[in-house]
């Protein structure tokens, strides 16, 4: 290399180094002035005032809608709006019903008329008082076909009871008249997926098109930058109830504004938590961060049952003895322990163990018994036909569950192949019944009757039904008007025993509710409905 060449090269390199140093120095100096400022700006916020005590929560996806219960909703919608909207009643931690906007209610002797007495002094986010007129308006709006309310059929008789009339004898009283007695009416009013929210008419424009939720919760839906964040501001005029907080019921105190930021990648969520740029994130059991003083895990049981579905109409699985052989080939508690990394426990029932209706009968399932497996396989004439076990990687625990099941079935002499598909295809196959075995998790139902109702049915009419048993269906239907807890518990016990005998599916566990939170956050609790609530949560 000549001297001139060397000089040229040096010149180029020096320029590059100089440029790089300038860039890095400028970013560093801009950043080092305040770590908190970096964190707050990271969330893309304009407000500096709330930056220090704002709670930032990571969501894997943006909410597609700001309307509670809209058909486009997802978990993020429920997490966000659960802090914003309220119903006449609320769900406690044990999923029982408690008062919320209604202080009390009376049920007529025939079980068909519910009279709610509204709480005094409750205000909407726009400052207007809550009266029976808004309750009636809200119901009317949600029940319009054009509103896109997912649970419309729950109240129009399609999938539940039919509300024949809503009347408002005075501003503090609202009356719902049903076409028949229905024990689940109150619970269905407060389903976290699609609550019968009490909204102010200014939530929609003059054409009836949805604008934003003007509701009564402790947080106001303040700002939504699509694809990036939703900001909830504290509602200063909120009047909390006096009862102790429990689940979605009782006293709700908003200590800090909450920003739900969209971070689709889980590794990025963890980085943001480690950097102090977010305060809370939901996490998979097998993907936890190592223990650190900067964060800790909030955990609890959920009501989402993870199950192994068996297609009872498939020729290979139509014989109940074959399905029993599969059940007996598996070390179910062992699988659950491995899949959930010790955070979940075996529950063979569709009733979540966090539910007050759960009994010792529900804990009864199958125990691994390989000699019995051999006997049953011989009886059914099994000759090594391969079964396909469908799963996807959308929810990692479903995939892990499938891997363990496949391994144990193969060891027990039942040839099984994994069929890993995309989530959309799995949902499609689930709904059409096109599978042999499937690792699946149902979303939480607020009452066991709803869970059994979605599982039981005639597959020729409802392909997504999993269990065809007319006696069980009749027993379930007989419960519709029954609100006596003991009678319901006995009926659910019987249903569980019948399901264990028929083996249309194997209950495994309720997906644990795991939330990784910053150590600066206090008061966040788990809830079986797996919805994050930020009232009563403070930040240092």
């Amino acid at each position: 290399m000549t001297d001139r060449g060397m000089r040229f090269c040096r010149c180029l390199l020096q320029t590059a180094v100089l440029l790089a140093s300038c860039a890095i120095t400028s970013f560093a100096s801009a950043s080092s002035s305040s770590t908190d400022a970096v964190s707050s700006e990271a969330a893309g916020q304009a407000s500096t005032q709330a930056a220090t005590h704002e709670i930032r929560v990571a969501e894997g996806e943006d909410t597609p809608t700001s309307m509670p219960g809209n058909v486009a909703r997802n978990t993020a919608t429920d997490n966000i709006l659960g802090n914003v909207v309220e119903s006449l009643v609320a769900l406690r931690a044990d999923l029982s019903v408690a008062p919320m906007l209604a202080d009390s209610w009376d049920i007529s002797p025939d079980g068909k008329t519910y009279t709610f007495h509204l709480r005094h002094g409750v205000l909407f986010h726009n400052g207007a008082p809550v009266t029976s007129a808004e309750v009636k308006w809200s119901f009317g709006f949600l029940m319009k076909r054009s509103s896109g309310f997912e649970c419309r059929s729950v109240f129009d008789g399609g999938r539940g009871v039919k509300v024949v009339a809503v009347t408002t004898p005075d501003p503090d009283t609202v009356v719902f008249e049903l076409d028949r007695p229905y024990a689940l009416f109150l619970k269905q009013m407060v389903d976290p997926r699609c609550p019968l929210a009490v909204l102010h008419p200014s939530s929609v424009d003059s054409d009836g098109k949805w604008l934003r939720p003007v509701a009564t919760g402790p947080y106001v839906f303040a700002d939504w930058k699509r694809g990036q964040y939703v900001l909830l501001k504290r509602f200063p005029q909120y009047r909390p109830r006096t009862e102790p907080s429990s689940g979605g019921a009782g006293a709700k105190l908003a200590y800090a504004d909450v920003r739900f930021v969209v971070i689709p990648d889980e590794a990025a969520q963890k980085s943001a938590l480690a950097a102090g740029q977010i305060d809370a994130m939901t996490i998979d059991e097998n993907n936890l961060l190592p223990p650190d003083p900067r964060w800790h895990l909030v955990e609890g049981p959920s009501a989402d049952p993870a199950v192994l579905l068996m297609q009872t109409r498939d020729p290979s699985l139509s014989d109940v003895r074959m399905r029993r052989a599969i059940a007996l080939a598996l070390d179910l508690p062992g699988i659950v322990n491995a899949v959930t990394d010790g955070h979940g426990h075996y529950n063979p029932s569709l009733i979540p163990d966090a539910n007050k209706l759960y009994s010792t009968t529900d804990a009864t399932g199958y125990t691994k018994n390989l000699p019995e497996v051999k006997r049953l396989l011989t009886q059914v004439g099994y000759h090594g036909q391969t079964l396909k076990l469908e799963t996807s990687r959308r929810f990692e625990h479903m995939y892990t569950l499938a891997v363990y099941v496949q391994s144990l079935l193969t060891k027990a002499g039942i040839r099984t192949e994994l069929d890993v598909v995309e989530w959309s295809k799995q949902v499609s196959d689930f709904r059409s019944g096109r599978f042999q075995l499937m690792s699946f998790a149902y979303s939480a139902r607020i009452d066991p009757a709803l869970m059994f109702g979605d599982v039981l049915g005639d597959k020729s009419k409802t392909p997504m039904a999993q269990w065809e048993n007319p006696a069980a269906l009749a027993l379930l239907h007989s419960l519709q008007g029954v609100s006596d807890e003991m009678a319901r518990r006995q009926a659910f016990d019987r249903l569980h025993q019948m399901m264990i005998a028929d083996v249309p599916m194997l209950g495994m566990y309720n997906t644990p509710d795991l939330i990784l939170i910053s150590s600066r956050l206090h008061g966040l609790t788990s809830w079986p409905m797996r919805r994050m609530r930020f009232y009563n949560v403070s930040k240092d």
Binding site: M1, T2, R4, G5, R7, F8, C9, C11, L12, A16, A23, F27, A30, S31, S32, T35, V38, E41, A42, A43, G44, P64, V71, A72, R145, E150, R152, S153, G158, R159, R226, G227, Q228, V261, I263, P264, D265, A267, A268, S271, A272, A274, A275, G276, Q277, E422, S424, K425, V427, S428, D429, F430, R431, F440, Y442, G453, D454, T462, M464, A465
Partner: protein, 313 residues
């Protein structure tokens, strides 16, 4: 020039038409539909039927295609099934984010790779050349998402210099947008730097062997002048093609990095829409990407004669 442009644009029409047909067909061929996905495990046949009707999914596939093309001809890209927003608006808001990243990354890659490639060629058989080649091989082997996570860990978590997520556009915060772009741009640019360096090195090697370079040196011109005045313009032509391809490739494939850094760009919109089976959004995004590819390649072809006078259109 004008006739060439018209010819190229005319050639693009069948390309785009074939793309639309393929995209439409493939989206409908894959199992699952948005209505079923929305309902998940909810058993409500009436609502399912209502949604399928609302989204036009109860029509035959050819009918759906004709309807889409008819709307397209009127400039209507349709409504997002999941987001309830006009698709044109979604693309209008997400495309600038992608464009900011892609243009910055391409610019950065060009500024580094072109001198590096030229220098490597000039230093052939000396220590600098294999060092640059090896670095290129290393960089091209690193997946951008992995580099992104690594950068995020270093500059976001450990040093806390830069945010690990979020975005504010230039129109909102001016140059403040740079802090959101640094990490994703570096993550994307590194791989492209490697590709472009190798291309530039190869073309520079060819040029440096030509007689007119020896002639320039024999005339007593300085090495920088030989390289910058005589070698660079002629070696840059092939590299320009690669720059065009990089630009197109990044515009189409920025989804991973946009997901890692939570950037509200078009790539992320596309991927999320594919998973949600949001047909109108997927179709429109792919159409825009196809058009961009055609446009970028056209611009590159038009720029070619500027750098290489031997080329005529």
């Amino acid at each position: 020039m004008l006739s060439y442009m018209i010819k190229r644009i005319a050639m693009a029409v069948p390309t785009v038409l074939i793309v639309t047909l393929l995209v439409f067909g493939m989206m409908r061929a894959i199992p699952g539909d948005p209505a079923s996905l929305m309902l998940g495990d909810v058993n409500d046949p009436a609502l399912l039927a209502q949604l399928r009707h609302q989204f036009g999914l109860d029509r035959s596939v050819p009918e759906q295609f004709v309807l889409w093309v008819t709307h397209l001809a009127h400039g209507d890209l349709g409504m997002s099934i999941v987001r309830h927003q006009p698709v044109a608006e979604l693309i209008r808001t997400t495309f600038p984010v992608t464009a900011e990243i892609v243009l910055s990354a391409t610019l950065l890659a060009s500024l580094i790779a072109i001198p590096a490639g030229l220098f490597a060629a000039w230093s052939q058989n000396r220590r600098a050349d294999p060092a640059i080649v090896l670095t290129s091989i290393l960089l091209v082997s690193l997946p951008s998402f992995w580099v992104g996570i690594l950068l995020m860990w270093l500059f976001g978590v450990k040093l806390q210099w830069l945010p690990t997520f979020g975005f504010e556009s230039f129109s909102e915060v001016g140059w403040g947008t740079v802090r959101y772009l640094v990490l994703p741009v570096i993550a994307v640019a590194l791989g492209e730097i490697a590709v472009l360096t190798r291309m530039m090195r190869a073309s520079s090697l060819e040029v440096l062997r030509l007689e007119y370079i020896s002639h320039a040196r024999a005339k007593g011109l300085s090495e920088p002048r030989v390289l910058l005045r005589h070698a660079l313009p002629n070696a840059f032509g092939p590299a320009l093609t690669v720059v065009g391809l990089i630009l197109g490739h990044l515009l189409a494939g920025g989804a991973v990095i946009e997901t890692v850094f939570t950037l509200p760009g078009m790539g992320r919109l596309l991927v999320e829409s594919i998973y949600a089976r949001d047909y109108p959004v997927v179709q429109a995004c792919l159409l825009v990407i196809a058009l961009l590819y055609v446009l970028v390649n056209l611009v590159v072809d038009l720029l070619y004669p500027v750098f290489d006078p031997r080329m005529k259109l």
